[in-house]
Amino acid sequence: MKITYTKRYSVLPFVQRWVKRFRAHSIQSIIMWSFSAFILLIVIVVAVLLFNKFSRSAEQSVFLNAQQIVDQVSYNLEDYVDGMAQLYRAIEENMLADGQWDDEQVTKQLDTIMRSRDDIVSIALFNDQGDMLRNHPAIPVKPSAKVTEQSWFHSAMRVSDHLSFSLPHVQNLYDQTFEWVVTMSKGITVVHDGEPMYVILLVDINFKKIDELSSRISLGKRGYAYIIDEGAGNIVYHPQQQLIYMGLRNESVERALTSSESYIDESDGVKRLNTVKSVVNIGWKIVGVSYLDEIMTTREEVNRYLVRVVAIVLVLAIAVSLILSAMLTRPIRRMGRTMKAVERGDFDVELPLQGPLEVVQLSSRFNLMLNKIRQLMKQIVKEQESKRKYELEALQAQINPHFLYNTLNSVVRMVGMSKKEEVITMITSLSKLFRLSLSKGKTSISVREELEHARHYMTIQQMRYKQKFDFAIEADEAALSCYTLKLVLQPLIENAIVHGIEYMVDQGHIRIGAAVKGELLEMTVTDNGVGMTPEMVEGILDAKETPHNPAQFINTAGSGVAVRNVHDRIRLYYGKRYGLEFESEQEAGTTVRIRIPVIHDMDEEEREHD
C-alpha cells in the first residue's frame, strides 16, 4: 500500500496530475471554470453592448458630422452670397443713387470696391435694349457678344428689382477673357436725366471663390460635397466638375433635388449617404456625399478590437482563475493529505494554521479533534494497562497466601481439637472457594457462582472467627442468572469482617443480597458492625489514586485499598455509572451496594471485555 502510494505520486507526470484534477469535479475545476465562464460572460455582454453602442454612435456621428459639415458649408455659402448681395447693394447705391453713372465720383468708388474685392471680375450697366451704359473696368464689349440672349439679361428683364444669381458660366462680354463667373443681375428703374429708365446692373463674381469655399470639404476619406441649383438640378459646383462637364462622370441629382433630408443611395455598388441642405438666398442645394463603407470599416475595426479584448480577457481569466483556484484549494488538498496520513495511523501530524479564515478554523478543529483522539487513545492504553493490572491483582487475591495460611492454621487447630466435621466443612469450602476463584480463568461469572464463592468464604471465616458472626444470603431468582465481574463480594465481606465485626462485642451479622432493580443489578453487603464516620465513607472511594501496589492487596487488613480496587474494576468494565456505594452509620453498621448492569449473555460479556 505504501509502495503504490509513493510510486503513483512520484511516477505520474505533473501534467497528468493536473488533468486528473480538472477532469474530476474538484473544487479547483469548479472555481476555475465558473470563474472563467463568469468573467467571459460579463466581458462578452459588455463587449456586445459596447459594440452596439460604438457602432451606433459611430454611425450617428457620421450622420451628424456630415450634416454639420454640409450645414457649415451652407452657412459659409449663404454668408458669402449675403456679402455679395450687400456688395451689390453698395455698388447699386453708388452707381444709381442719383441716376448718374458717368461722373468721376462713381468711377472712383467703383475702383475702390473693385480693388477691395479680388473676386469681382467686372461691373456693368446695361439698358433694356442690351446696350452698355457703363462698365468697370472700362473695356469695350465685343460686338459679337449677344447681350440680350444671355440668361442673366433674361432673368433681370423678367422680374424687376430682384437680385438673381446665374449658374457658373463663361463670361462672354469682353475680348480674350473667357472666365468662369457667376453673374449677379437685377433690373432697376432709375430716373436718368429726368426720365425713368429701366437698367440692368451686372456684377460678375469669379467662380473661384465659391469653388474654394466648397472644395475644402471632406466627408470621411472619400466623401465630398457638390452644389446643384434647385431650379433645374444643374451642377453648380462639383469637386470633379470638369469630369461632370465632359460627361465622364455622373451625379444622380434627381433625388437630391426632391429631398430635403439625408438619404442613402447606391453608386457603383457602394452605398452612400447624401446629406442635403438648401442655400436659401441663392436657390442652390449642397449635397454632401459620404461613403457608408467607411462607417462599416470603423465598425469592423471596433469589432476586431473587441474580439481581441475578449480573447485577452479570456486568457487572463483562465490564468487568474487557475492561480486563484490553486491558491484556494491548496489548503484543502493539504488537509486531505494530512487526513489521509491520519487514516494510515499517523496521529502525530498537525495542520499548520494558515490560509483563509475558514481553512484556519477547519484546521484548528481538525487539530483539536486529532488531539482528542490522541488523548482518548492514551486513556484507552492506560485503562487497558489498569485492567490487566487489576486482573493480576484479582488473580493474586484468588490465591491470597495470607488467607490460605490463616485458614490452614485454623484447620490444623481444628484437627488438633479433633473437630472432624468442621475440618471437613472448612476444607470443602476452601476447595470450592478456589475452584470458583479460578472459574476457568474467566473474568465474569454468574451471580449464583459469585454468591456461592461468598458463601464459602464466609463459611471459612465464620469458622476462623469462631462463630463471631453469622451470615445470610438472599438473592432474587432473576439476579442469580445474571453475570458479574468475579470476586467483587469477597473484598467487601473481608472488609466487613475485619473492620466492622472483628472488634465488636456482640454477635456480628452479615447479610448478602442480590436483586435486579430495573436496569441495574444490585448486590449488597450489609453488616451490623462498628460503622464508619461520614468522613471515612467519603475517604474510601475518593482516595487519591496512587500507584497501586499489589502488595497492599495481600494485606487484607489494609486501608480499604481492596475495596477501592473493586470499585475501579467495576467502573473500568461497565462504565463510570456503575460502582460501589457505601451507607454507614457508626455503631449501627455498614451497607455496601454494588451496582452493575444486568447482563444475561456471558459470551457477549466476554467478547466485550476480553
Binding site: 509513493t6 458660366h169 473667357f178 476619406k221 470633379q240 466638375q241 465632359m246 488538498r333 496520513a341
Partner: protein, 332 residues
C-alpha cells in the same frame, strides 16, 4: 512513513502574478493598434508626353490626365516640349521616361515613326504605351484614345459645303508635317465634297511650324485665285488663314472651317473670322488615356482603341452651356 507533497507553487507570489498579468494585458492591447493599411510604399508613375504643336490641346489633355491620375491615385509625370521641338525631341523625351521606369507612357505622337520606335522599345521594356489622338496600333501600343480623323474631316467638309450652300471653290491649308491624322482629315473632307458635288477644290498650301509661315501660305493661297472657303487642317493653319482674311478685310466672306478649340480660334469664331470648328475633347482624351493605362496595368479588360466623338462649334452655339463646358477648361 508518510510523504507530504508540496502543492504546486508558481515561482512568483500572487502579487507578482498579478503584476505580470497586468503587464501582459498592457502589452497585448498596445499591440492591437493597427498600422495604417492605406499607406502605400510608392505611387505608380505614369508619363504623359506632350504633343508637338498643340498648345491648347496639350493643356486639355494634361488637365484630363491629371484629373484621372488624382482619381486613381497615381503620379503623373508631364513631359512638356518647347514650341520649337519636333518629333525627334518628343521621341527622346518619351524614351527618357521609359528609361526612368514609368509604369505606363501616354503619348500623342508627332509621327508614325515616333510611335513605332517608342512602341518597340516599350514592348522590350514591358511598359505599356497608350497612344492619344492616334488610332494606329503598332507593336507595344496597347491602347489608343483617338478621334476618327477621317470622319472629322468629312464633318468639316460637309460644314464648309453647308456654309457655301453646296456650291463654291475651296482650298485646303495643311501642315508641312507628314501627319497621318491630317492626311486622314483631308481625305475625309475631299470625300464629302465629292459626294456633295458642287464643291470645287482650288488647291492647297502647306505651312510650316511657325504661325507666320502659315500666314504666308494662306497669302499665297489667296493670291492664286478667288476662293469661297478654306479648310484649315490644324490650329496653326487656321490662325494663318484668319490673319490673312482679316488683313484683306474679307472676313466673313471667305468661310473658314477648321479643327481645334484654341482660345484664339474661339475668339476668331466669335468675331466671325472663323466659321466652324470641329472640336475634339482633349480633356477626355487625357482622362481616358490614364484610365486605359490603369486598366492595362491592372490587367483588367480594356477597350483597344477608344474613338471619341467630335463636335461642330460655331459662333451661335459656342456659349451654349454644353459647349461652354467642353470649350473652356474649368481651370481651378
Amino acid at each position: 512513513m508518510i510523504r507530504t507533497f508540496r502543492p504546486l507553487r508558481l515561482p512568483i507570489g500572487p502579487r507578482g502574478c498579478f503584476a505580470a498579468l497586468v503587464a501582459v494585458l498592457i502589452l497585448l492591447t498596445s499591440c492591437s493598434s493597427d498600422t495604417d493599411p492605406d499607406e502605400e510604399p510608392g505611387l505608380q508613375h505614369i508619363a504623359l508626353v506632350a504633343p508637338v504643336h498643340a498648345e491648347e490641346q496639350g493643356d486639355a489633355i494634361r488637365l484630363g490626365a491629371e484629373a484621372a491620375a488624382k482619381e486613381y491615385g497615381l503620379a503623373l509625370d508631364y513631359v512638356s516640349l518647347e514650341p520649337s521641338d519636333d518629333e525627334e525631341e518628343q521621341l527622346q523625351a518619351a524614351l527618357k521616361m521609359l528609361e526612368k521606369g514609368a509604369s505606363a507612357i501616354l503619348i500623342d505622337p508627332a509621327s508614325e515613326a515616333v510611335l513605332q520606335e517608342l512602341g518597340d522599345k516599350a514592348a522590350a521594356a514591358g511598359t505599356p504605351v497608350i497612344a492619344l489622338n492616334d488610332e494606329r496600333m503598332t507593336t507595344g501600343i496597347l491602347s489608343a484614345i483617338a478621334i476618327n480623323n477621317e470622319a472629322a474631316g468629312r464633318k468639316a467638309g460637309e460644314q464648309l459645303a453647308d456654309l457655301l450652300e453646296g456650291r463654291g471653290t475651296v482650298a485646303i491649308l495643311r501642315s508641312d508635317r507628314e501627319d497621318p491624322d491630317l492626311i486622314a482629315r483631308e481625305e475625309g473632307a475631299k470625300r464629302a465634297w465629292s459626294d456633295i458635288g458642287g464643291i470645287e477644290i482650288a488647291g492647297g498650301a502647306a505651312c510650316g511650324k511657325r504661325e507666320d509661315a502659315c500666314w504666308q501660305a494662306a497669302k499665297q493661297l489667296l493670291d492664286q485665285g478667288a476662293v469661297d472657303g478654306i479648310l484649315a487642317l490644324d490650329i496653326q493653319a487656321s490662325l494663318g488663314a484668319a490673319k490673312e482674311v482679316a488683313r484683306r478685310k474679307v472676313q466673313g466672306e471667305i468661310k473658314i472651317v477648321t479643327f481645334g478649340s484654341d482660345l484664339e480660334q474661339l475668339q476668331l469664331l466669335q468675331d466671325g473670322v472663323l466659321h466652324k470648328l470641329v472640336v475634339q475633347n482633349g480633356f477626355s482624351t487625357g482622362y481616358l488615356g490614364v484610365e486605359q493605362a490603369v486598366k492595362v496595368m491592372d490587367g483588367s479588360r480594356y477597350d483597344k482603341p477608344i474613338v471619341l466623338e467630335t463636335k461642330v462649334i460655331d459662333a451661335d452655339n459656342m456659349f451654349w452651356m454644353d459647349n461652354q463646358k467642353v470649350l473652356f477648361p474649368f481651370v481651378k
